[in-house]
């Protein structure tokens, strides 16, 4: 059964029903060895249930899960070589750091010297060589995080599951831990399956990301693919920021679609990968703020693009935004650079907006699909 090329983790047709509610609906995927794989989705999308099935805390209603090519359906959680870092870490408060890390080794009956050696080794690898005798409550948030990972990694798992472990940390620490997690994963060279609702965590750390919604995977791909070539309206809306309008297709010409938003703005766009739209279809249009070009309009200038007026400026350094009200009444968010010079846009100013057609993606509206 086990072949050298078997993926670390493979799910085929996994479903989970809780009574009449289908939490996970027919999910299939494979994760090659050594990948940082994220499952990204809003809360309640079923990602935690999926992870608990992989860990063995829930049994799938249908389908199968393979670890290193071997089905684990009848393997209880304590026999699966899949370790998990819990949302609130679940470090054992009645034990010190050393005992926490040694716990799993003791369960499999490793002898004393071996335990001491392995624990010290893993502590070195997470760059906390001297904390063995500390109590859990003496550790900082980031240290706890690393101990929770060390506790799993000391057992040399085939797959490490991480259930939103950064959720409880404050913003600064979270940013630092993102980088650190990625480095740890490189160092251990183990497959990480990371669950999160935070798209920036998923984009920054992952080799591949699965976007999950309503119990299904909407799209699996590299972060770049998800960002630049979304395949569904949900992915386009959930990953990264986007302006989003509903509208109706008024005409198609080759790969180009002309549509009119509910507000009456006429826009040209391209249909999302693998989707088809026809004249008269209800669609949703997505344009990312950073792809919109904003120019000051002078009365003499020839009109290009859409004209509007700056309603508001949201200053946030390099990530500043302008809210532009189009003549039709639609509101557009546009990334702008505010240098503090005289060239900056100001509220009330007349501007014109334009973007390249390839950066305006439309999808058939949800009801139609």
């Amino acid at each position: 059964m086990t072949t050298p090329t078997a993926p670390d983790l493979k799910c085929s047709g996994v479903c989970k029903n809780f009574g009449p509610v289908q939490a996970v609906a027919d999910i299939s995927f494979e994760i090659p060895s050594g990948t940082f794989f994220s499952i990204l989705g809003p809360s309640g999308c079923g990602k935690t249930t999926l992870m608990r099935m992989i860990a063995g805390f829930e049994e799938p209603s249908a389908g199968d899960i393979f670890i290193k090519g071997r089905s684990v359906l009848n393997v209880p959680p304590n026999r699966r070589n899949v370790k998990m870092v819990f949302q609130h870490l679940a470090l054992f408060p009645m034990m010190n750091v050393f005992e926490n890390i040694a716990y799993g080794l003791r369960c499999i009956g490793t002898d004393r010297d071996e335990i001491a050696r392995k624990v010290q080794d893993v502590l070195n690898r997470v760059a906390l060589p001297d904390v063995g005798e500390r109590e859990i409550h003496q550790l900082s948030g980031g240290q706890k995080q690393r101990i929770a990972i060390a506790r799993c990694m000391v057992l040399d798992p085939d797959v490490l599951l991480l259930d939103e472990p950064l959720g409880a940390l404050d913003l600064k620490l979270r940013e630092a831990m993102k980088i650190e997690l990625k480095l740890l994963q490189n160092q251990f060279d183990t497959t990480f399956v990371y669950i999160t609702h935070d798209q920036s965590e998923a984009l920054v750390m992952s080799d591949r990301v699965a976007v999950m919604n309503d119990g299904r995977f909407e799209q699996i791909g590299t972060p770049q693919e998800l960002y630049h070539r979304p395949q569904t309206a949900f992915v386009a809306g959930f990953v990264g920021d986007s302006n989003r309008w509903s509208g109706k297709v008024t005409g198609t010409r080759g790969a180009e679609v002309t549509l009119e938003t509910e507000g009456g703005t006429v826009v040209r766009s391209r249909p999302g990968d693998g989707t088809k739209v026809a004249t008269g279809d209800a669609v949703e249009l997505f344009v990312r703020p950073e792809f919109i070009e904003l120019v000051h309009r002078t009365p003499r200038q020839k009109r290009t693009g859409l004209s509007g007026k700056v309603d508001n400026l949201l200053f946030n350094g390099a990530n500043s935004r302008a809210l532009v009200r189009l003549a039709t009444g639609d509101l557009v968010e546009v990334d702008v650079t505010l240098t503090g010079g005289t060239d900056d846009v100001k509220p009330g100013e007349e501007v014109s907006l334009s973007w390249s057609t390839k950066n305006a993606v439309c999808f058939p509206a949800r009801a139609a699909s």
């Binding site: 047709g13 049994e59 799938p60 249908a62 389908g63 199968d64 089905s71 359906l73 009848n74």
Partner: protein, 304 residues
């Protein structure tokens, strides 16, 4: 399709096994509770109920009837004692509330964080000392040759030894003392949860001390007041030691009557009936209290 079915079956098998294990552990866990409640609470009370309905019509001759209960209502001395027990218990409850409320308020709202803990611990001290020793302490304080009498003579306020023991006042003081902490604990924990800003807002909106107390603090503390009062009332009505030791032989407390029937007169039938009457009566008062305040029994008891 076939493939999927094959995979489903073993999974289903382990689900079944899992379910059996769960059921077994549920039964095992339930056994102690069931044995305890059935053997020590339910059956004894049923047995006592049956016993209380047995009329003695001759030596070793019995028949079923309500005679033991009827005797209670026909014999004024019995229901007088019951009424007396009830009135004093209510008085003790009210006094405990009046004395305890300011103490709880001070601990919860006025004392600094460090003194707060110390004071609370201090209030709990009597809990760790048995009823008997507490009553004994009061005897030593109140009796003719006791400390208070001695102090009164020494300061010249009294010319001869004063007997402060063996009267209703001594019983009330002793009982208030005994149950005090069951009033203070729920009150303090309720008041502790109250946001100081609510009191300040009350003043800020123009209330004076009294209206703030009446309109804001007391309504907020109501759950604590109710749980404290219920516990205190039950403890008082069911107490035995304090009334007997501080009130003397003829303190006429209802539990004492039960004891007499059982141990002194060996009239178990009537003792059982009296026991039931006490149980009905206290449950009734507790029930009224809960109804009037809209609280539930488990939340009330859990609070203390």
């Amino acid at each position: 399709m076939v493939n999927q079915e094959r995979r489903l079956l073993p999974g289903a098998g382990s689900v079944m096994k899992h379910r059996d294990a769960r059921r077994l552990s549920l039964i095992l866990l339930f056994m102690p509770l069931a044995l305890w409640i059935v053997l020590l609470i339910l059956l004894p009370h049923i047995g006592m109920g049956i016993l209380s309905l047995r009329e003695k019509i001759g030596p070793r001759q019995y028949e079923f009837g309500l005679a033991n209960y009827i005797a209670f209502f026909q014999e004024p001395i019995y229901w007088h004692i019951m009424a007396r027990t009830a009135v004093i218990s209510l008085l003790v409850t009210v006094l405990a509330l009046i004395v305890g409320f300011p103490v709880s308020y001070y601990i919860a709202k006025i004392a600094g964080p460090r003194t707060r803990g110390a004071m609370f611990m201090f209030c709990l001290i009597p809990l760790w000392v048995s009823d008997l020793i507490r009553a004994f302490g009061w005897i030593l304080l109140l009796r003719e040759t006791g400390v208070i009498s001695g102090i009164l003579q020494w300061t010249g306020l009294a010319s001869a030894p004063v007997e402060l023991l063996y009267n209703d006042a001594a019983v009330v003081v002793g009982l208030v003392y005994t149950v005090m902490l069951f009033m203070i604990v729920p009150l303090t924990s309720t008041l502790d949860g109250m946001d100081d800003a609510m009191i300040e807002a009350g003043y800020n909106l123009g209330g004076n001390g009294l209206t703030v107390l009446r309109r804001i603090i007391i309504p907020y503390a109501m759950p604590g007041i109710v749980s404290g009062s219920i516990i205190v009332f039950m403890l008082t009505a069911g107490s035995y030691l304090t009334p007997v030791l501080l009130g003397g032989k003829y303190s006429s407390w209802f539990t004492q009557t039960i004891y007499d029937q059982f141990i002194t007169r060996y009239n178990w039938e009537s003792g059982a009936a009296f026991g039931f009457l006490l149980l009905f009566f206290t449950s009734f008062v507790v029930w009224i209290g809960l109804k009037l305040s809209g609280q539930s029994l488990s939340s009330t008891v859990a609070r203390s």
